[in-house]
Subunit: 342 residues, 3 copies
């Protein structure tokens, strides 16, 4: 792909300072970019690399004197970069058509232009949309629906009755629709509560690798439009994750939790069952969320507290040895005073 | 399935108040249930839904005036519900017989009524019991034994010499019998300790999705009867988990840990190697267990402490900024006293 | 395998005390070893078992009177044991040749003596070295390279352009080369940053089960020679893990982290993005690493602090209820003094 900087500027919604006619044939980091390549500057932590880059052009937010070539100025350079890199990104590798080494139940329906790799299994009455790509080892259970242009990477398991929207991406090894963890004690034994519900994943959701999203006991576990999960995220039965929420790696969400829209949940967070988390809340990494969080609240810690308080307490915990020391000394001084008094 | 409420009451061991002749054709939550459906009331947090439900009958522990229809009274409504829902739950979807797209070594032995989906692999001298269901992508290593009526979901890996009991359920993506993490430092390098032991999983165990249960270095890693693990649980080499213990999602158990019977381990717990955990102990979510825990003990925190102490300390940690302030002020007052004295 | 103790001693670099001519036919733990078997004594926690063992010979560091048979004295008994057990360890179970149930793109190249199980998929222009074993369900993407004698266990996904060195072991269910978690907010929506980089795994690396190692945004994610990861480790995009570093189970490493050589990272650790960790550092289990760590530093806690300070603070946190009590009492005494004074 060869494209002028001017065209790139138009696509990313930016303004060229310098020669817009320069032809760009690739995109790379400041350090690795060479002649003909575009790069980007998003954070002053990269200033040293900026001064030394051999890129032919840059995307950034404000004109810099540290770079002599043409520059594309955009409001949000990270966003500009995301759009520019998409121009040079190869398409998802697809299989030409439907492999005869895939096993597809005769009652299922496939859209046009699907790419079904070998070793795929598609069950009874499944419906696969147009342009869907199913990689090797994908299991599609009975009555599953997958919307147009969704991509399911290798060895993903999609259990029966799951509904997946359009342009959804599910990375390798993830499990959608496994049984929720529901047991009732009967004396010593644990009696299984059959998990009769399902999972619904809406349009433009992206699920990381090796996630587990459990089916509902009754009703549905629901991942709404535009949600993005990182690797190894656990989502329990009957959870709702609101639109455009982001969940970082290795976080676990217990059963029946309701998470709002545009929430940001850090890595390795644990959320107790039946909790509600309001829209736009932010939860710091490794937090333990044991009670509900209001809209826009920013919390950290295990158990969680307001993020600012958490910052204070973590600083003070480090000073605990000194605090005990001070208390000891103060005690001595009081004793001395008491003695004098007596 | 259509069944009278009276029959359901007999199955769940309850007593009908009202018309036992009403015919039930399904089961659902209080909110979603409609005419002909049974629902259940297990916790007063659902009282609002109770008053508004359109269910035709209810399972609960005490007669309520908030619901006008017939009621089945049981001691433990959650257990009654689990038993009732099982009546309406469809069977695990099975493949009719043995797919010719499965690869089964000629020396292995299959029981009667097995369901072997396409893309299954069964190795040398494996023994598969009656009524076993193996979903697509299941790998059964050499000499593995799987007991009657066990269900192994898609893309599960069962490495060589693993023994699995009867009526075991293993959810998708789990790995049983991977090598334990055993290395010895030889200068800078890590020398692998070959992992020659195996894994034994007893009857009625249920393993969640994407678990990893490592084989023993020597001897066996042993998951005893009735144990239930949630998703993404890690079990190291030579671990023993006692009968009817419950392990919630994303918990990690290091090598050679011995866990007793009917223990409850919360989510995201970490347990150090060579620890012993007594029968009926309870370990709070996100705990870090670095020393052994006696029978019946209830602990939380990282490192763990008695749960009640942990509750106190977590409250006090939030008050640390105030504590430092108080200490400062007390110090000033002492100073003032000292000055007056001098 | 039958071998004299003398020969074993030579292989493990030890010295026989007693009869070196005794023939050894197996290796086992102190408790389980029987006649003809070798065992080993590595830690005084096993002293009771030492006195009772029925093994025919022992590997240990110093001659013991508690065992009457011949003894092999080595400097590091754990290392001696690792070497001795390797003598009796069966080879990795391999498929004889290339299964016709594997799907291998015609443009890929396979070395000699490869073992390609059924249900393997190998993409366009992949290069597989001599003696490589690919278990069922392994996906090898386009242009992937796998070095000689590497073993890839069942249901592992290796996405396109990944490079894997020689004698690498990847346990079941792991995902190599999934997209890094890169999104830019555009109003409420998250715009995906295409992940165009790749993953490089050097020689003699061992990756546990159900790991996720993401490809780089640009450039490469790089796991250097001799690194060992336990189960369910998450490695973000553009991470570098230095040679011979050890990462214990369920640890998560965020994007662009640089980890030095011979670092030891405990289980369930979380490391924030763009952090640097120096050579030979040690990070305690469940730590939260939010800032860089120098070479040789030993840290624990979330957020991390020097390990010794962390030990102190964790002890003091347990005493917080008493501390508050003392402060209360001291306050009363000061009040009393103030009253007397006035």
């Amino acid at each position: 792909m060869k494209i002028t900087l001017e065209k790139i500027a138009r696509i990313v919604g930016g303004r060229v300072v310098g020669d817009g006619g320069v032809v760009i044939s690739g995109i790379n980091s400041l350090e690795a970019a060479g002649p003909g390549e575009l790069s980007f500057y998003t954070h002053k932590r990269y200033e040293k690399s900026l001064a030394k880059t051999k890129a032919s052009a840059l995307i950034l937010s404000e004109k810099t004197e540290l770079f002599k070539g043409p520059q594309v100025l955009v409001e949000n350079p990270a966003l500009g970069y995301a759009k520019a890199i998409a121009l040079f990104s190869p398409p998802v590798p697809s299989y030409p058509g439907i492999s005869d080494r895939a096993v597809i139940h005769e009652t299922s329906r496939l859209g046009t232009n699907v790419s079904i790799y070998p070793h795929v299994y598609i069950g009874i009455e499944a419906i696969i949309g147009d342009g869907v790509i199913l990689f090797p080892g994908v299991f599609v259970g009975d009555r599953v629906r997958i919307g147009d242009r969704s991509v399911i990477y290798p060895n993903v398991t999609i259990m029966h009755d799951t509904r997946i929207g359009k342009e959804v991406i599910i990375h390798a090894g993830s499990v959608i629709g496994s049984d929720g963890f529901g047991f009732v004690r009967d004396g010593a034994r644990s009696v299984k509560i059959p998990q009769m519900g399902s999972v619904q994943i809406d349009d433009q959701v992206e699920i990381g690798a090796n996630n587990c999203i459990d089916r509902a006991t009754l009703g549905k576990t629901w991942i709404q439009e535009g949600v993005k999960t990182d690797n190894m995220v656990h989502v329990g039965h009957n959870v709702v994750i609101g639109a455009d929420t982001i969940v970082v790696a290795q976080t676990g969400v217990s059963g029946s939790v309701e998470i709002g829209r545009q929430v940001i949940i850090g890595g390795q967070v644990g959320i107790s069952d039946h909790i509600k988390i309001g829209d736009n809340a932010m939860i710091g990494s490794q937090s333990g969320v044991a009670k509900s969080i209001g809209p826009g609240e920013v919390v950290s810690g295990s158990p969680t507290m307001p993020h600012r308080l958490w910052l204070k307490t973590t600083r003070l915990i480090r000073r605990l040895p000194g605090l005990y020391q001070e208390l000891r000394e103060l005690e001595k001084r009081v004793k001395r005073l008491e003695k004098r008094d007596s």
